[in-house]
Subunit: 197 residues, 8 copies
Amino acid sequence: MKQVFLQLLQLSFYFAEKLAADTSNIIATRAEPAVFAALKDLFPQAEYHALARMVVIKRERVSKPKGLVAVLTAGTADLPVAEEAALTAEIMGNRVERIYDVGVAGLHRLLHYHQQLEKARVLIVVAGMEGALASVVGGLVSKPIIAVPTSIGYGANFLGLAPLLTMLNSCAPGVSVVNIDNGYGAGCCASLINQLD
Amino acid sequence: MKQVFLQLLQLSFYFAEKLAADTSNIIATRAEPAVFAALKDLFPQAEYHALARMVVIKRERVSKPKGLVAVLTAGTADLPVAEEAALTAEIMGNRVERIYDVGVAGLHRLLHYHQQLEKARVLIVVAGMEGALASVVGGLVSKPIIAVPTSIGYGANFLGLAPLLTMLNSCAPGVSVVNIDNGYGAGCCASLINQLD
Amino acid sequence: MKQVFLQLLQLSFYFAEKLAADTSNIIATRAEPAVFAALKDLFPQAEYHALARMVVIKRERVSKPKGLVAVLTAGTADLPVAEEAALTAEIMGNRVERIYDVGVAGLHRLLHYHQQLEKARVLIVVAGMEGALASVVGGLVSKPIIAVPTSIGYGANFLGLAPLLTMLNSCAPGVSVVNIDNGYGAGCCASLINQLD
Amino acid sequence: MKQVFLQLLQLSFYFAEKLAADTSNIIATRAEPAVFAALKDLFPQAEYHALARMVVIKRERVSKPKGLVAVLTAGTADLPVAEEAALTAEIMGNRVERIYDVGVAGLHRLLHYHQQLEKARVLIVVAGMEGALASVVGGLVSKPIIAVPTSIGYGANFLGLAPLLTMLNSCAPGVSVVNIDNGYGAGCCASLINQLD
Amino acid sequence: MKQVFLQLLQLSFYFAEKLAADTSNIIATRAEPAVFAALKDLFPQAEYHALARMVVIKRERVSKPKGLVAVLTAGTADLPVAEEAALTAEIMGNRVERIYDVGVAGLHRLLHYHQQLEKARVLIVVAGMEGALASVVGGLVSKPIIAVPTSIGYGANFLGLAPLLTMLNSCAPGVSVVNIDNGYGAGCCASLINQLD
Amino acid sequence: MKQVFLQLLQLSFYFAEKLAADTSNIIATRAEPAVFAALKDLFPQAEYHALARMVVIKRERVSKPKGLVAVLTAGTADLPVAEEAALTAEIMGNRVERIYDVGVAGLHRLLHYHQQLEKARVLIVVAGMEGALASVVGGLVSKPIIAVPTSIGYGANFLGLAPLLTMLNSCAPGVSVVNIDNGYGAGCCASLINQLD
Amino acid sequence: MKQVFLQLLQLSFYFAEKLAADTSNIIATRAEPAVFAALKDLFPQAEYHALARMVVIKRERVSKPKGLVAVLTAGTADLPVAEEAALTAEIMGNRVERIYDVGVAGLHRLLHYHQQLEKARVLIVVAGMEGALASVVGGLVSKPIIAVPTSIGYGANFLGLAPLLTMLNSCAPGVSVVNIDNGYGAGCCASLINQLD
Amino acid sequence: MKQVFLQLLQLSFYFAEKLAADTSNIIATRAEPAVFAALKDLFPQAEYHALARMVVIKRERVSKPKGLVAVLTAGTADLPVAEEAALTAEIMGNRVERIYDVGVAGLHRLLHYHQQLEKARVLIVVAGMEGALASVVGGLVSKPIIAVPTSIGYGANFLGLAPLLTMLNSCAPGVSVVNIDNGYGAGCCASLINQLD
């Protein structure tokens, strides 16, 4: 199995041709509807995931599901990035469990999911505002955690800088971090970890 | 009752004279032992609190204790700032309860103190690293919380910038923030709140 | 009395349903008219406060007014944030006095209100530009002050960073700070303080 | 097997007592010789690793080695952080291969190790200056990569900010990042990943 | 030969008149179609390069081509800036070879062009994201390299700050840097170097 | 009259010779005692002002005093910078009035000096912490104000960045700003203004 | 003579009424045409200066012209800010000489104006990009200089931060700085200086 | 001819051995006297340049001098970095002309050297404070210019950030920039350019 993932920022014909010559699966992230329309013409099997702003073009079967990837969000506003992560992990052949809206300001909601967290092989924690969720989850479970800061917030959030710094300074061991809003990268990291034999 | 609090950054004789003419209590923060020695000569009743780096000169009785001020820290390295806050609140006439080393990476330790947190009238939360403790406490109790970021950390902590941003972006209502390492300011805020009739 | 406050950044149907199942008061902040329209369909009693960009849905009576919360602004451009703070405090059951446009460049206007400031139990100071008002008010009255920097300004204001730093470095004791433009948070803090027995 | 890892920033007697009561392994990072001397008195089996500035106290056997953790550095100045990562992984029960001084300015040196990189289950890439090594390694192997920026550099390096941003923006999938100079955190992450069944 | 290059940010009539009085070649960078339309009226020979957003007005012959300027990009999204650099160098009388889409995540693609890189007299390396390409190229060839960071990226890219810092900290000798997205400046530098006798 | 002012950062013999050949007055700022000692050997009339860390070498008479320059400070810790400004203005031939320790947290102290402020032709306002004094003075008097932020403070003061931004964003007209701790520059500006006919 | 200057960021009816009650001159800066239209209804004598985006309402005669204020710009793109400064100075009763487009990259153009610079009593230097003009002018003339950084530039200009820092660090004595794009503030400062007896 | 240049940050024996096995020239930059002492033992021909803090070990003849490299500084405090650049260029086989202390605040001094600047094939401009010299030189001569910001300055200089931004935003074509204080890198760039056939 071989896959091509691309982070489409500009769609040129040259590029489309190269894609067509390949037979692997394709993910186009941050894709506006117009990008989907253009890809749909070339690849009729293309699907659009509006919330995640992703186009997924499945052209080959991926390996059967392995361990579980859990994707958590602090709030509902973090869903687009979380879906980008979850869909990326899924198309790479992982089973994904979504545990959304479990931010630390309502701690008991998160504690309620404690057992489900333990079942995951790797966790993706998506959070904006102050991004404290990654540290709390890291204190609850001894699993690899990929933290994704989001640009949700305002003022001294500085477009995601606040949760980015929070996550980089996490006092919980086992937390590593990807770029702000980089659901795609988190999905890749989690998949590579989950698919280790 | 009238009190003079000073944030001594430079100790001049002129200043000392002014202090001597007054009869209120004095706090000197960030005071190295040499500052203490100089003050001790002028005010024999001066006491030195080494961990908090504070000199306290009690010259008048303060009002009898009112509600409780709780001071929490995430780690043991946050103790000097926490002690500055606690001692400031105490000399201003408040009862203070210290709940130290309850950072979010070991959540159950914090939850263990839940009932005691409910007994406080106002809470001071002191945390460095990623500073997530303020949000978690803010989610547990419906009380005014004064958050104090500390400069404990390294790298992308940027001398306390990380917990400062975390606390300013807290998703928990009721959290307001003072300057990095400003235990004195937090003690003043908590005291003003606690002493409201 | 129980209240649900939400900082609506995305309005989903799932979310609306959850709100409908509850019977507490609701505040939706940073709500564009379209958000109001959507909420109005679900909650006919919803009211829109255009200046504060807030939707308020009153569904239960809040406790009778206690002490006074004073809300001050430096300029007229700070009014939207100040109104968000004032309305938040009001729906949480506080009496609010608005003292607007008393910036430090016209000091005598502020001094004129000195007696009224003394009557408040807690003060919210809203200021953009250089944000010096919080320090001056903190020097005039010995009350808890919640300072709210606003993003009013340009150039080296850096979208509110300048007044944020000013307020965090305030030389007046008793000043604590919330996020830039966070009128809602300031209202919550002031209410929690004002409602202490 | 249970282990206690601590990031010793202040060593108090209270703390030492708590440690003594436990029987798990201990790592003290950023430990100056004086810290080692103090710990040596309490734990005669304590060992000091001068380059990594770590004290290691082995009190229990860890599970037998599993897959391989590769630790790479761009330059020789990155060695202290790399050794902190490598020793942390080793005491947690991992086999570690060190591949040092393979920065991108001498690309052929890195390419020479290509086969060895493929044998690792997870890679830790430690780099200061511009931190480009993580991206290049991420392009060569399809394995989870933990990138550790170091504070090696000067001027517009801004104490490690430059390689931190480089690594967060890596165009290679599979790269996640820990705090500047955080060898300990990278070792923990790699160990958690490597020990997945 | 004398040339006038201008970085048109505002097009006034006064300015156009001054241009008309001159007989040298003109480059207008960052020119929207409306700017082209306005210039086309005054200079019928004006040409528009849409990808580079440049207007080129050739009014005199430039010296015959000298050594080769190679222009490389890491990704396809960097093409507009690369084309601005390449066109600037061409109108100043240089032969330009374009080697696009050779980012470090696919190292073998870059190595494939190694011999062509050696033929250039000076290289312009255009890269966004983490900007690692400049260091890798600097390690491959012993030629002057003008590095151009682009604002391609998101989150902790900070509009080009990340590749700017990467390039300034390059561990490869021979790399100097121009402003973010400054293809024009890179073209000027490369031309001045290439035209040295 | 001609004067040479120098901001001595390195004292070389070559430099000293040049100075000796001249007959104008000399100011050496940020001069440690060792610098004074070296200059004293060459210029026996050199005087050392320890608080301002300045060496003053008077070798010619300056014009008789003109209008008054007022130098204000917010706190006592700002005195070294204020003295640098005051001494610079004095050696350039200005009468200087010092009004120290009139920060905004004790507003009545400042208001007490209102009449004296009105007598000055130009004012220098020196303040660290949050630097609010410049705005308040600018609101009281209609005179040119040179604001000097100082690096007095800690945490989110960022070595003087906070008062620098405060002063640049001052809502009071007539305030212009020099570099952090640049008493010398403020003294020059004030002198140039005061000596206008 | 009394004047009211306002920096209109929001135009409310309340505000307009207050203005109407007054009889002094009014300047509205950063005024879009819609603001002008609204003011024109209330004040028929209102004039709009499109380049400076200013509304000027003259209702009283200002004192007869005194010394000369020179306003310089580095480029043509700096004209809007320069015109805001020049118009502000003019309505406050100053004679203004405009010397535009004399940036340091074409030094001889600036030197050509040397004599005219000497005739001014105070100079306003407006520059974006790297803002070097203030230092060069400060080296040429011994007059008070108000430097205004503009947000003209891109990339590492950071919306005017680059010229702001340049001007604050100017090695020429006599240069003080106002906020980015603050032509109004520069005009006020220059007028206060120029009108000193 | 082959040369090894190293930027010694840590001197290990392993490293020294590798050096000994080679026969090319060696430069050790930022070398404290202790580093020199250690190298002198191994390489008796090692020379120490105290001002530039460099150790130079000549072991082979470099090609005979080609065109001229001019090294300029704005002030005397920039000399250490300038000497690092000049010595680097010299050991790589270039003739170097030093033109020091020609900052823009004394423009006529720089203009005095205009003809000599024209004789150089490539120029290195070293400047701290506001770093305006690069733009002015770039406006005077049509040659490749390598700009080196230095960390000379204080306050809003931010350890060289100010001149770095100035140079990156230079309005003069032909200016490219290396890292703050990176005299070594500037010397390499200039040498590569100067040695082009």
